[in-house]
Symmetry: C2
Subunit: 369 residues, 2 copies
């Protein structure tokens, strides 16, 4: 559990992703009813559109999107480095072109801190250098070392912003800055990177970046174990951009406290739903007259009210309500999964619970009636 200016977050926790200050297809009220504790948004995207200065002038992200719970903003490192061919990395920062209008941009650690300050999230991530998951050690080392140097610059700018104060000139300490540990799939680099990051200052929490970006799953799991051993035990660890239900369970098993991923909403919009017995695609003909809910054991508002037959009808007919209901179900599924993981951890039964949960999720597919 950790505490933010907008409430506490029980861990492990899944954060729904609201890249553009809206979790796609869902209303903040939906998220509250689902039991979502914290949501994630993105500095890169909001800087380009509608603009972080605009959001600040309208009272900050919480007010802008009518979500009064905790918010975390990613810095946009991942987005900027995904613009292959459109960006140039220098020590000072990254030159790139906007994916919206092609306009030239230059992100530095300092600018990103100012953007995230304008947005006003509770937790803000450092600007980092992200490389593909299969990168060789020299490439991963360069990115990891640059990320540490940029972390130092982020921290310095973050302090300046705190001293500059809020709009009334009062000292501002409403945000926590999280560093991001890089190092690819190379254990030695991860150990070294984690140590360097931890040496910069006493952080409220740690991001684990550069995973789920193309590397093999066993590599990701091994790196989590490696990092687990070297990060401070009493601080939350946030595995960035992960994941699917099985990834969450495997991550918690390896000490991860926070996750985020677009999967539940993106898959929901495509008609795919998580169930305790694996994924199903609601468009399949077998669901045409199926009176059962998506998942018998789910207590989300979609499962409480609607049949698979109705949900399939919505998707076949291209009706908007279908997108919302499956997105809602999937986010609820992950939030509930993490609630069950918390219970199991508190009860000392996590390993048995996780093993049984994964076995069922992987071994069965939904059975037609």
């Amino acid at each position: 559990m950790f505490v933010t200016p907008h409430g506490k977050v029980e861990t492990p926790a899944f954060m729904a992703v609201g890249t553009l200050a809206t979790v796609k297809g869902l209303d903040p009220e939906d998220l509250r009813r689902i039991g979502a504790q914290m949501i994630l948004s993105n500095a890169y995207h909001l800087h380009l559109r509608p603009g972080d200065a605009l959001i600040r002038s309208l009272g900050g992200m919480h007010r802008f999107m009518a979500w009064d719970g905790p918010i975390l903003t990613d810095s946009g490192g991942f987005q900027v480095f995904s613009l292959e061919g459109l960006r140039t990395v220098r020590e000072e920062g990254v030159e790139f072109r906007s994916h919206i209008d092609g306009s030239p941009r230059f992100f530095t650690p300092e600018l990103v801190m100012r953007i995230e300050r304008n947005l006003g999230a509770d937790v803000i991530m450092q600007f980092d250098h992200v490389v593909p998951g299969q990168s060789e050690a020299p490439v991963a080392r360069e990115a990891s070392e640059r990320s540490v140097r940029w972390l130092e610059r982020c921290a310095a700018e973050f302090d300046v912003l705190g001293i500059e104060g809020d709009s009334a000139g009062q000292p501002y300490d409403m945000q926590a800055l999280f560093p991001i540990v890089q190092g690819g799939i190379h254990d030695a680099l991860r150990i070294e990177g984690a140590a360097r990051v931890a040496a910069v200052r006493d952080w409220h929490g740690f991001g684990i970046g550069g995973l789920s970006v193309g590397e093999a799953k066993p590599d990701m799991y091994r790196i989590l174990e490696t990092v687990h051993d070297v990060l401070p035990r009493d601080r939350p660890r946030y595995l960035m951009g992960v994941g699917f239900p099985e990834d969450l369970v495997e991550g918690v098993r390896r000490g991860v406290d926070m996750f985020d991923c677009v999967a539940p909403t993106r898959m929901g919009r495509n008609g795919a739903a998580f169930t305790a017995d694996g994924r199903l695609n609601i468009r399949r003909a077998e669901f045409r007259d199926d009176p059962r809910p998506l998942d018998d054991e789910c207590d989300c508002t979609a499962c409480a009210r609607f049949s698979r037959a109705y949900l399939r009808h919505l998707f076949v007919a291209d009706e908007l309500l279908g997108l919302r209901l499956l997105s809602l179900h999937n986010v609820h599924f992950l939030v509930r999964l993490m609630r069950h993981a918390r219970s199991a951890l508190l009860g000392g039964t996590f390993d048995a619970w996780a093993t049984a949960w994964l076995a069922r999720y992987h071994s069965r597919s939904p059975v037609p009636r």
Copy 2:
């Protein structure tokens, strides 16, 4: 006010349109919170997809779409007759091709009654012959007279279905059949049509069809006055396919009790919002940093929580939440408008209220800050 098996409906009332068993972009919970009393769906569309027999097998429309309030189904006459070039009218019925897959279909009054019975709405409309609003008297006469003959066949089949009983063989009287008065923009035809319809039996209510289909507004208003004088005073009159806010006020002024129209949801999806001062399009640049709600006087959940700036951002970024929020606001606007009309009618102040309301709605456009 009138009473249905799924609750009472205070009139005048606006019915949100859920053509495919979903009011586009909205959840049944949204409709309940808005105060929507009755919603409309469509026999033609649901027969083609997902099929009325399927819906019956799943417990009927109310259960299928999780709306336990009153439902009205239109017969599909309007839809079938809109398939210009794709349909052939005979006295027996109408041959046409499905707009989905081109398959040949044949709708008769008897089949349409069975479809609407399968769907299980509280109020079902007769199968009628609809012609364009500018039709000459001979064409309008033919359609009106055929509609009366089809009404007699609908009524006979409706009685047979009632005697056949429900799935347990019990007599079935859970639906009300409404006739539809046709006659185009020709007063004499409307008077004659209304008299013939009323002579068939003692109806629970009357549909007024063939308006808002291309005729001039003054013609529509005059026909409403003509029909008002000849229909039984103590039965609700339902003006089909109307309308916009100003049409509702003008309609109530001329005795109309029920309305339906896709305008609030279709316009909402296009970014257009009703306000007391007229329509606004939320995409306009002037709203980029506008902290005000869509409509200062509105108490819908969109206006209570979100600024025009945020709503504009959602539309500019193609975010689904924008579609839902503007649809919700617009349906709420019409439901609330009819609530105000009821209060004014009960208080004996309707004419003054309507005049002031229309003057404000027509005379001003939203003022930039």
